[in-house]
């Protein structure tokens, strides 16, 4: 909890404006995409959590467990068996992390993927696809330049899952 407080107290004025604009545009997109007010509220809370997680990941390359708990609570809105099936999307990544000798995917990303799967359901596959494509486009060039091996996955994944939430 202290870690999260420390991250969010060091936020700059420019970052606040950018986050506000992203939240506003997300709310407008959700408002035009859904008719059910419960879905709009769910989508907006989901977006706020995604922004907080992405910010944390970009700043510290960690995803605190405290930020994943609200995601599970949001997933309880319109919960179904499909939500539970959606969490299975993280299993291949967990197996990959167990099999690989070096760190290929962070534990935080695996849990985040499971939480997104719980909220979106089967649409999380589309979210994963879109998020992975965004991640590849963003970081393939730096990776080829051998600047770093691992990068923050949460922002790309969040963007992909946001579109999947609207589309599916």
């Amino acid at each position: 909890m202290k870690q999260i407080t420390r991250i969010f107290t060091n936020i700059t004025f420019f970052e606040i404006i950018v986050i506000s604009l992203i939240s506003l545009s997300a709310f407008l997109i959700l408002f035009s995409a859904f008719v059910d007010p419960l879905m709009i509220i769910k989508g907006f809370l989901f977006t706020l959590c995604m922004i907080a997680i992405s910010y944390c990941d970009v700043k510290t390359e960690t995803i605190p467990n405290m930020l994943l708990i609200p995601l599970v609570l949001i997933g309880l809105i319109h919960v179904s068996w499909e939500s539970l099936a959606g969490t299975a999307i993280a299993i291949p990544f967990l197996i990959a992390a167990l099999v690989a000798k070096t760190e290929v995917i962070g534990g935080g990303d695996i849990k985040l993927l499971a939480a997104y799967g719980f909220i979106i359901g089967r649409g999380a596959v589309i979210g994963l696809l879109l998020g992975s494509l965004i991640f590849i486009v963003r970081y393939l060039y730096p990776r080829l330049k051998k600047k770093k091996v691992t990068y923050a996955f949460a922002p790309s994944l969040s963007l992909g899952c946001f579109f999947a939430f609207i589309l599916v």
Partner: protein, 81 residues
């Protein structure tokens, strides 16, 4: 006697491997790292696209070939002409 010892040895090996895997899984799930390699995303894209193609192919085969074939067979069985 030798077979029993060999089996016991293999059992211990399996038990050790399972134990190590469980410990690694626990460590991975307790980890809060949010950094991933680009190769994982690439593998995920390839896997999802392949899975979608295979599912689409199977759905096509089932809905266009297999199920109509079964329906025809059932109709021919029950036709009293």
């Amino acid at each position: 006697m030798k077979l029993k010892e060999r089996l016991q040895g293999k059992l211990v090996k399996v038990r050790n491997t399972v134990g190590k895997t469980l410990i690694k899984a626990q460590t991975t799930l307790l980890d809060t790292s949010g950094a991933s390699a680009v190769e994982v995303a690439l593998a995920a894209v390839i896997a999802v696209v392949l899975a979608l193609i295979i599912i689409n192919a199977f759905t096509g085969i089932f809905s266009n070939t297999i199920i109509p074939g079964i329906q025809d067979k059932i109709k021919s069985i029950f036709s009293v002409t």
